[in-house]
Symmetry: C2
Subunit: 198 residues, 2 copies
DNA sequence: CTCCTGGTGCTAGCAGTGCTAGGTACGAGA
DNA sequence: TCTCGTACCTAGCACTGCTAGCACCAGGAG
């Protein structure tokens, strides 16, 4: 193999790699958009393939299966959510206000993007959390919670308190979305919870 | 139609009605047992039919579709859970102890029967809650929560406080089951929550 | 006792699901 | 220009929830 050919070969390889990665992102984006538009039931491999303008089996050269695609959407969602949580939290100096802002951002995220939230927290994707091998996106999101809860933890163990606070928000988000709570009282519920944790 | 024939006709009708109802219960029980043994993914109409020893279309003469079966399982679960909550709550005179007992019973129920809990609270069954036309089983379960939270509500609106407390427990139950929380800290989380709501 | 009839439950099938095997056709390298 | 590897598509499998249409048998009429 000549040097020039070798170089060109590598660059071609790289270009292909780039295009592949690009197509992978396209698939994940299409899955997320389809889920947000019509719910996860509408996300079938066939519709997904049609959307990215490739045949169905191409999906399986990028992801091991449909679950892996949902998982990728979820991880992307964590990165997205972490940004919003951080922005909300760091916009206030008072710990109580910061906590409130973070909580509101969290509930808003869940309410505005229910399908994404479902992929992240409700669906049975094996994204274990507490362990060390959790994807960094998950730990970063949890870190935002720790940073907001910590300053107000008092004598409580910070991590436990964070888990409890986060669980309380998660419960409100999911039960509200499932119409299990009285509509129109979201603000009151959040206020009451913050009153107990500030 | 002679009087005797009429009477016998009615009784035959009644016997058939009884047998039908019995078979309906059999289907719901089979669905619940199968889900608890192998998860809801394993509950297919074919396996269900095989289990009750009838052909598949028979299910559709009892329930409008698979969702209706899951819904029936959920309603049965609410009745079951309500009993356990009531037993736990009424076993203690002190409001704080009663609330603790109810909360523990709730979390235990969710942990011991995750499939049933999933049908009741996680799956997208359109069992609206807050409205008037909610099945009485749902309102009874919520009533147990109100009865336990009420005496400790202080200045808070009882219903709002109940929703917040229940949501917090629900969040812990689901996130714990989904491995999103550190294992082995269930008791600590419950204690911390109760400390904030007693 | 015999015939008819209505309803119950069956077999077979449809459209759609996730996923895979096989072949084709095109572009890179000699 | 020819060959070869690989990237992709068509076709198909086993399964899902659900439905149409037929067979059979219990119950009532004569």
């Amino acid at each position: 193999m000549s040097s020039a050919a070798s170089i060109r070969g590598v660059s071609i390889q790289e270009r292909r790699e780039r295009e592949r990665a690009e197509r992978g992102r396209l698939i994940v984006d299409a899955a997320r958009e389809l889920a947000e538009a019509e719910g996860w039931d509408a996300v079938t491999t066939r519709r997904l393939a049609e959307r990215v303008e490739y045949s169905q089996p191409v999906l399986y050269s990028h992801f091991k299966g449909k679950d892996a695609i949902v998982r990728a959407v979820a991880v992307q969602g964590f990165a997205d959510m972490t940004e919003r949580l951080r922005a909300a939290r760091t916009a206030h100096r008072s710990p109580a206000r910061a906590l409130r802002a973070l909580a509101m951002a969290y509930l808003d995220f869940a309410a505005e993007r229910p399908a994404l939230y479902e992929a992240m927290f409700v669906r049975e994707v094996d994204l274990s959390f507490g362990t060390a091998e959790s994807p960094p996106e998950l730990r970063a999101a949890f870190g935002e919670f720790v940073a907001a809860v910590g300053p107000l933890a008092g004598d409580d163990d910070v991590e436990t308190r964070t888990e409890v606070f986060w669980s309380a928000l998660h419960g409100q988000a999911t039960l509200d979305h499932g119409r299990r709570l009285r509509p129109g009282h979201r603000r009151a519920r959040l206020d009451l919870l913050l009153g107990r944790f500030s």
